[in-house]
């Protein structure tokens, strides 16, 4: 993998411009955020711009990938838990896998520990990550990105997972400064690893501030590892941004009914996502 010698600072730009410029058909794209800080607004912009044949990468596809799959953006998904946490199924993902609607979805399926280490390897620009995992499970038989290796020092049999290096990572954070440095805090998931593993990155933030003030449990991503910063208040709802919003658990429960039916889902997306473009650009 070649190193990029030109370190350019992130540019602050509108979300529509960032998606238009940095997300292409056929890209491998990782929208990360583990329950917290899920970049819903950015995912909706990808849907509005009708990106196709994407490989979606994410530990927990959650509602955002359910929506992108149901709107026909995805050809393939690399993931580890495809449920609506505490509620049940992701019905659009199920419909794609079980019935090929609106198009078939190829799955590459990991455990969380495997996915996490695939991102760590990607961020480290190593070909694989290493863990104790998968032995005895049927996951091994259905995933070419998992293999067993012998430790050169102890002889122990260990598990290797192929690195994940997305074309573009998309995350939501609480704050950025005007130079494009980003800070997020609270549950930080694998966002740092996703951004550092990817070739390009888009970060939506709750607000721009003059100075990023140090906080407990915070992750700072310097401007020069980020491609674009977009100010999108509420951009992680119905997920949440600690310090700005709380998780809309009622909506997560309601999604079960909305997504169960193809027509109701399509209507909901038209009203709440596709038409939102009109008001955003008006």
């Amino acid at each position: 993998m070649s190193r990029d010698d030109s370190r350019t600072a992130a540019k602050v730009m509108p979300l529509a411009e960032a998606v238009a410029g940095h997300v292409n058909d056929g890209d491998t794209i990782a929208l990360e955020g583990f329950t917290h800080l899920i970049p819903f607004a950015a995912g909706h912009e990808v849907i509005r711009q009708e990106r196709r044949d994407l490989t979606l990468v994410r530990l927990t596809p959650d509602l955002i990938y359910d929506q992108m799959i149901g709107m026909g953006c995805a050809a393939k998904m690399i993931f580890s838990y495809g449920g609506n946490p505490g509620v049940g199924s992701l019905h659009r993902m199920r419909d794609a896998v079980e019935n090929g609607w609106p198009r078939p979805l190829e799955l590459v399926e990991h455990s969380h520990a495997g996915m996490a280490n695939a991102y760590v390897a990607g961020a480290s620009r190593l070909p694989f990550g290493i863990l104790r995992g998968y032995a005895g499970t049927d996951l091994v038989d259905h995933n070419d990105c998992v293999a067993f290796i012998e430790c050169p020092f102890t002889g122990e049999r260990l598990t290797a997972v192929r690195a994940v290096n997305p074309d573009v990572a998309v995350i939501h954070a609480q704050q950025a400064d005007h130079r494009g440095n980003v800070m997020l805090w609270g549950l930080s998931g694998v966002q740092k690893e996703a951004v550092l593993a990817a070739e390009r990155s888009i970060v939506t933030v709750e607000e721009l501030v003059d100075e990023l003030e140090p906080r407990p449990h915070s992750v700072v991503l310097p401007s020069w590892v980020i491609t674009a910063v977009c100010v999108v208040p509420g951009g992680s709802e119905p997920s949440y941004a600690a310090g700005y919003s709380v998780r809309d658990n009622d909506f997560y429960s309601e999604w079960d009914d909305i997504a169960r039916d193809r027509d109701r889902f399509t209507e909901w997306m038209r009203e709440h996502v596709l038409q939102a473009e009109v008001s955003a650009t008006a």
Partner: protein, 258 residues
């Protein structure tokens, strides 16, 4: 539901699961019923249990019952927050969890778990959520508690997919695969309690919940279930346990919108 009404079978299951936790244990909390059971235990006999969530919250003390394993309440009340790679590498994988508390869609006689598909993998009848953190939690925790409703669809002769390893897969013991923990030491259902046999680790019925007959359980099990002699009966949920559980769940329901 009024606190005067007797416990439902599901509540009896959660109460009995909570009783299994000992005070001070470090518990990795799975999504769904295990979440209710561990939070109930912390409010009753095990206030010093350390609740760990795979989202990276260590020592969480949620006021409300969280819906997801990454709710804001968990992060706000946690002793420490770490990244997802860290939670799996330094805490779960390194063997720092006493009890992995898991749910399941299917389980077999050796406590192997399926949460991936019903039917063939390539053309599944039902696509389930998948592995999540369970394979490594089941592998590396000192012991595993499993919590699920009892039915022939869930307790099967042969799993459609092995997502997480119990005591034995295709004749291989878990120790042959390098797994350090003891595996599932108890399975709590809405009908009774199962534990692995000391001889060969096959699950056997050790206790019935009050009012449940032995045949109710054997009929709801897809293999010829062993029954331990003497077969015990669990103590009925106390008024305190039922009230605490209902209060916990009422808090979840009355949660304000964000």
């Amino acid at each position: 539901m009024s606190s005067r009404e007797p416990a439902t079978p599901e509540e009896t299951m959660v109460v009995n699961a909570a009783r299994e936790l000992r005070n001070g244990q470090v518990c990795l909390v799975g999504v769904g019923p295990p979440n209710a059971a561990t939070n109930l235990a912390r409010r009753l006999h095990a206030p010093d249990c350390v609740l760990v969530y795979e989202s990276g919250a260590i020592g969480a003390k949620p006021v409300r019952l969280p819906l997801s394993i990454g709710d804001d309440d968990l992060a706000e009340t946690a002793q420490e927050l770490v990244s997802v790679p860290e939670i799996f590498n330094y805490w779960v994988g390194a063997g720092r969890i006493d009890v992995g508390f898991l749910g399941a869609a299917q389980i077999d006689r050796y406590g192997n778990i399926n949460t991936t598909v019903i039917g063939p993998y390539e053309e599944p009848k039902v696509r389930l959520p998948g592995a999540g953190g369970a394979p490594e939690i089941a592998a590396a925790s000192r012991e595993v508690y499993v919590l699920l409703r009892h039915s022939k669809r869930a307790f099967v002769e042969e799993l459609d997919f092995v997502t997480s390893v119990g005591h034995r897969v295709d004749g291989r013991r878990r120790s042959d695969m390098g797994w350090i923990g003891k595996g599932p030491t108890v399975v709590i259902t809405d009908l009774g309690v199962l534990r692995p046999s000391p001889d060969d680790s096959e699950l056997e019925l050790v206790a019935l919940h009050p009012g449940v007959e032995r045949e109710d359980v054997t009929d709801a099990t897809g293999w010829d279930l062993r029954v331990r002699d003497p077969l015990e009966t669990t103590a009925p949920p106390t008024e305190e346990e039922i009230q605490a559980l209902r209060k916990l769940r009422a808090r979840e329901l009355s949660r304000p919108r964000g």
